[in-house]
């Protein structure tokens, strides 16, 4: 009973949060200051619930609730933890971000409340997706995430935002519709194999060997492409850079950090059934094609990338490709590495998107070549960005090193030597390009525009983190307000001054967590292996 309560909490808490925010929007003048902190609170609660669930249930079998509609095994619990962790990161960073937006008159308190409500719904939908006991309901939940996030992507009603939202909804719905088709076909096969309706995961796995091969092949292909769309895998990846580029920073963090992983979760589940029904070769081939295509695409488009948020988005495509590669390898080690990679990537990419959001607020431009000398203008921000990128490239002590190494090991060990080598080469190109672009943004002397900034930054060395730099921005903001070009500086000056670092605190914590995980995962490791067992073909 207690476990079931915990189980439902991770869906119910965000729903409650959403309700609070919706009420807040109803009030004529929402008291924003206070309500802003509801969402981090909810996220923290659900993360706590997830961890508690994992602790309570460890050692016992899966728990079910709502008459078998909801079930949690180790894999779902791990996914809940991923969602909770990244959700906490994103929501903890959003008050500062939203305040800055409000202060810059780009959003009203009501819009902010609406935004927070949608974010909570988004979190609830993702939690539901990993908790439901049946493939069908997982599909429903994943499609629900698209609907919820559509307005988040298009929140800023600019041309680009609308364009991004349209592409996002159109492409994702199409892809997910393909998954629906596959799902129905699989359902037919299951029915023919004598399964009751409902596409229950465990029943499917149990009956998988009896599924009709021909039908399952079609179903699996469609399911992989369909869920692959949502996971940002080629060929239907194109929504990702646009949506991630246009969505508000915390939302990009959530989408890139967890949404993709949730879709990958569905793929992992489907893979088990497929392997049992068709043997490992079929899914492995499909996944390898998707993986290499995604990696190649990410590498090609990162080379002459000019927009730093799109750059991060393409790097997400790369990492999803790596996950697909690991899934293709399919050994227990590979799957454990894939799961750890989900967590590490979620934390790192979330931090990066939030930092990128700060950069956007500070400089007012998406262009890489218009941002320079960040390290001397905003050392803390630059540090977060730089360390985040290093984490993303898989440098130790960050956990992505351990997971990428695991994936590579598993790849070579399961006879995918050549593919893994090609993937490594592509990853090298991507790493080179990320380093190049980011170092252009971070390094070098501060641009001439902020000469005063440099002075201010240099004057108080001890306290010379964000505060000094924002001081500089105010300075040249206020001097430059008369001059039209630097208007954005005048705008960003105020919020930056009002909220020095609070927006980056979660980022620092998340990166630290990522590093700790990379050195010593402790109990997480056991959970990882248990979760891996859940989706490794026996």
């Amino acid at each position: 009973m207690r476990t079931q309560a915990l189980l439902l909490a991770s869906v119910a808490v965000p729903l409650f949060g959403a309700a609070c925010f919706l009420l807040a929007t109803l009030r004529p003048r929402p008291g924003w200051r206070l309500t802003a902190w509801v969402s981090p609170a909810c996220a923290a609660l659900s993360l706590g619930a997830a961890i508690a669930l994992a602790v309570v249930r460890s050692g016992h079998g899966p728990v079910t609730a709502l008459g078998g509609l909801v079930r949690a095994d180790s894999l779902s619990e791990f996914m809940l933890i991923v969602i909770g962790a990244v959700g906490l990161l994103a929501t903890a960073a959003s008050p500062a971000w939203l305040n800055a937006e409000i202060a810059a008159r780009r959003a009203s308190p009501r819009a902010a409340a609406k935004h927070s409500a949608l974010v909570q719904l988004f979190l609830a939908a993702m939690a539901a997706a990993v908790l439901t006991a049946s493939l069908g309901l997982t599909w429903v939940a994943i499609e629900a995430t698209t609907i919820v996030t559509a307005f988040l992507v298009g929140q800023r009603k600019t041309r680009q935002a609308v364009e991004a939202a349209w592409k996002y909804v159109m492409i994702c719905s199409t892809g997910i519709a393909l998954a629906l088709l596959g799902l129905l076909v699989l359902n037919a096969a299951a029915a023919h194999a004598g399964l009751p309706a409902g596409l229950d995961w465990t029943r499917l796995v149990a009956a998988a060997p009896h599924l009709n091969r021909g039908v399952t092949r079609i179903a699996v292909a469609l399911l992989l492409i369909g869920f692959g769309t949502k996971a940002g895998l080629a060929p239907l990846h194109a929504w990702l850079p646009d949506a991630h580029g246009q969505a508000p920073a915390p939302v990009s963090a959530l989408m890139s950090g967890v949404l993709l992983s949730v879709a990958m979760y569905a793929i992992l589940r489907v893979k088990v059934i497929a392997d049992l029904a068709l043997g490992t070769e079929y899914t492995r081939t499909l996944l390898l094609i998707l993986a290499l295509a995604s990696l190649l695409l990410a590498a090609s488009l990162l080379i002459s990338q000019r927009d730093y948020k799109r750059m991060l988005a393409y790097s997400s495509i790369e990492h999803m490709g790596l996950l697909a590669l690991g899934a293709a390898a399919g050994s227990p080690l590979a799957v454990a590495a894939v799961l750890l990679h989900m967590l590490g990537h979620g934390l790192a990419k979330g931090s990066l998107f939030i930092s990128a959001g700060r950069v956007l607020q500070l400089t007012g431009t998406h262009r890489i070549d218009r941002v320079s000398g960040l390290a001397s203008r905003a050392p803390l921000l630059a540090g977060c960005l730089g360390l985040g990128i290093l984490a993303l490239l898989g440098f130790p002590p960050f956990s992505l090193f351990a997971s990428e190494l695991g994936i590579a090991r598993a790849g070579f060990a399961s006879g995918l030597g050549w593919v893994t080598t090609v993937a490594l080469a592509l990853v090298l190109v991507i790493a080179a390009m990320l380093l190049t672009h980011v170092s252009r943004m971070l390094l070098g002397p501060a641009p001439a525009a902020t000469e005063g900034g440099l002075a201010a930054g240099a004057a108080p060395p001890q306290a010379g983190t964000e505060r000094a730099s924002t001081a500089s921005v105010i300075q040249n903001g206020s001097v430059a307000t008369l001059a039209p070009p630097a208007i954005y500086a005048a705008e960003t000056a105020k919020p930056a001054a009002m909220f020095p670092d609070s927006g980056l605190l979660p980022v620092v914590v998340a990166l630290a967590a990522c590093a700790v995980l990379g050195v010593y995962a402790g109990p997480v490791t056991t959970l990882l292996h248990a979760a891996a067992q859940a989706v490794v073909t026996p």
Partner: protein, 696 residues
């Protein structure tokens, strides 16, 4: 490793007061653990303490870390056994395995000793300007350097390797706000080091996949049963990976960039300690784990080494940036060491254990000597930069007045580097040449063709090294100052001099009594499974075991000193002497000589540049502007000349261009049209369905 001995004694006493340590933990682990803890504590404190104390804390902590590391290394090479540590919890999914054998111990000891000198130097060099990150990362870098040779599984090696890369990258970035070149250099370094990592990773993982286990023990056990194709693939991959770290041509491109732009104490650590680990990897994997393999591996390594040596020293001879010069000379010395390693492997595979031991011993000794004198040189160059504000030899000169101690240090280092007796490198290169020469007996034809060429490469390298360092010392420190900065140069603070002094002392010991370290090298060679022992021994006189050959640098030096003293005394004893008189230099009667009339470094190197015209392909352009009245009257003539890195021109630029073209072409994949995007999916689905319909 002079600085290490007290620490070793300390470890001894520790084991006495703390029974059990010495017993089953050996001396190595406590020392290494101490090093790690010290590094972490130092890092935290450097973050915490106010700017005034930062440099002191980080420098002293680094020195102590190095001391502990050196103690561990010395304990290992003096034959103290230590158990293999296995920590499954750390590094998720893989776990960490550590072990220190004499081979690893040798590199650990060298690294630790370098770190001691660098640490005490860093106190003065960082000074008030010490930024929080670089002060905190310095000890961590040293710790990671110490950890790499202690790794006993492929995954652990890779983890330590990447930590080393990360920390060094952060240190290279230290001065990026002052010079834009730093960012460029860091970019090159990061990308090349990542390339190296990918190759090592692929090689080791392939190896581990075939060995069904990634601990070195498992790899070594499986090696004999592997197919030659797999073994060769692994070797070539790790050769590329480790070679890029060792700065072997053509993967050296990062080296002459990163070394000049990094802070000098970091350059010293990178050049004297980090690049060695590339060699360590080659020895460990090539000889130790793969167990020899086929002869062509080693012939290839010899060829690479020879080319790197000659090319590196040529670049050094041409360069006028003193730190770039030192960087290129690092490539040279790594090349020489690779010739030794290659020869060792070659002789081991062709069944000449004595020669194999000798060659590898030469390589290992050269690693140590190079570490000693390159530390000294970089530290001295650093204090020049610190004092005169420039690294350009053409703008230096006359430093001997302002900074006599630094001049002495650089001179001693230059002598050591140019392989002249009683210089440090003389002994190791002598051993190397001995090994090569004796290898001709009963060699196969390929070997018989390779060895003389290798010898001549080594000889040419030695000759050019003399020219290079005469240029560096002569134009940089002697003669007249060529710029205001050089004229105003002042001596560095005591801590920096102390660092240089330690390095200089190490140089002296290795130069005069190299025999003292030969037993340790012998154990290392045995651990590398190349030969039973180093093929040389003796303390005062170095004798080859089983071969005719002996040299005694100590005797040589003593003889020189005696003769000099005698001659000086004789001069004094001459009749009808009056005191020395000062006199004007011969200025051809026209006014006093100015600094502008001196030979610069560029002009000094000009004859060599002409000789090696075809290799270096120097670029010169001359614009002459005439008077409008008469085209025979020259108004002004401007001459510009530079010696670009040829390999970079021929190898890297095309690749970079190709990648750029690829990127621009690929941008057409994302034109922004939703129809195109959906089309990708549609065609993919249709194609897939067709395939499914056709195949059953």
């Amino acid at each position: 490793m002079s600085p290490a001995t007290p620490a070793l004694a300390a470890a001894h006493s520790a084991s006495r007061f703390w029974p059990g340590i010495g017993a089953h933990w050996g001396l190595t682990w406590p020392a290494l653990a101490g090093a790690g803890t010290l590094a972490l504590i130092t890092a935290l404190f450097s973050l915490a303490v106010p700017r005034r104390w930062r440099a002191v804390v980080s420098g002293a902590g680094t020195a102590l870390t190095g001391l502990a590391g050196a103690a561990a290394g010395v304990a290992a090479v003096t034959g103290h056994r230590s158990p293999t540590l296995s920590v499954p919890g750390v590094l998720p999914l893989s776990g960490v395995t550590l072990a220190v054998d004499p081979l690893g111990g040798w590199f650990i000891a060298v690294t630790g000793a370098v770190a001691v000198a660098v640490g005490s130097y860093a106190i003065g060099y960082q000074g008030r300007a010490a930024s929080r990150p670089s002060a905190a990362v310095l000890p961590l870098f040293v710790a990671s350097l110490l950890a790499v040779p202690a790794a006993a599984s492929a995954v652990t090696l890779l983890a330590c390797w990447e930590l080393m890369a990360l920390t060094s990258l952060l240190l290279v970035l230290a001065e990026h706000k002052r010079r834009p070149e730093v960012a460029v250099a860091a970019r090159w370094y990061a990308i090349m080091t990542h390339l190296g990592l990918v190759c090592v990773l692929a090689g080791l993982m392939l190896f581990a996949a075939h060995a069904r286990g990634d601990s070195f023990a498992a790899l070594a056990r499986a090696a004999p049963h592997l197919s030659p194709a797999v073994k060769s693939t692994v070797f070539v991959l790790v050769l590329v990976g480790f070679g890029s770290k060792a700065g072997l041509v053509p993967l050296h491109a990062w080296l002459p960039r990163a070394h000049p732009e990094a802070p000098s104490h970091v350059s010293a650590l990178m050049s004297a300690a980090m690049v060695n680990l590339g060699l360590y990897g080659l020895i460990r994997v090539g000889s130790g784990l793969l167990g020899g393999g086929s002869a062509w591996w080693w012939l290839l390594l010899i060829a690479l080494g020879a080319v790197s040596a000659v090319y590196g020293i040529l670049q050094a001879a041409m360069s006028t940036d003193v730190k770039r010069l030192l960087g290129c000379s690092t490539t040279e010395n790594m090349g020489l060491a690779c010739v030794g390693i290659g020869a060792g492997g070659l002789f081991a595979t062709t069944g000449h254990p004595v020669l194999a031991g000798l060659a590898l011993a030469a390589a290992l000794l050269h690693v140590a000597t190079h570490a000693a004198f390159k530390t000294l040189l970089f530290l001295a160059a650093g204090s020049v930069l610190h004092a005169a504000g420039t690294r350009d030899l053409d703008a230096l000169g006359g430093l001997r007045r302002g900074m006599p101690a630094t001049t002495l240090a650089f001179g001693w280092g230059a002598l050591a580097a140019s392989a002249l007796p009683p210089g440090t490198a003389f002994v190791s290169e002598w051993l190397l040449v001995q090994a090569l020469i004796h290898g001709l007996h009963g060699a196969s034809t390929a070997t018989a063709i390779t060895l003389p060429l290798a010898v001549s490469a080594v000889a040419l390298t030695a000759g050019l090294a003399v020219a290079t360092f005469v240029k560096a010392f002569g134009t940089g420190f002697l003669a007249k100052p060529r710029s205001a900065g050089a004229a105003a140069a002042h001596e560095s603070p005591g801590s920096m001099l102390a660092g240089m002094g330690l390095a200089g002392a190490a140089c002296a010991i290795l130069a005069l009594v190299p025999g003292a370290v030969l037993p340790a090298i012998g154990r290392a060679v045995a651990a590398a499974e190349v030969a039973a022992a180093s093929g040389a021994g003796g303390v005062v006189t170095l004798r080859l075991d089983g071969l005719a050959g002996e040299v005694s640098p100590l005797l040589l030096t003593v003889a020189l000193l005696i003769v000099m003293v005698a001659a000086a005394a004789w001069l004094r004893a001459l009749p009808a002497r009056s005191a020395r008189r000062k006199a004007r230099l011969w200025d051809c009667g026209g006014g006093p000589l100015t600094a502008r009339m001196e030979y610069t470094a560029t002009s000094f190197a000009e004859p060599l540049q002409r000789v090696f015209d075809d290799v270096l392909a120097p670029e010169t352009d001359l614009d002459v502007t005439h008077h409008d009245e008469a085209r025979y009257l020259v108004a002004s003539a401007e001459y510009r000349g530079r010696v670009p890195d040829r390999i970079e021109r021929r190898l890297y630029e095309p690749v970079l261009r190709a990648v750029g073209a690829w990127g621009d072409a690929a941008r057409r994949l994302a034109p922004g049209s939703v129809h195109r995007y959906l089309g990708y999916g549609f065609y993919a689905v249709a194609g897939l369905l067709i395939v499914l319909a056709v195949t059953r």
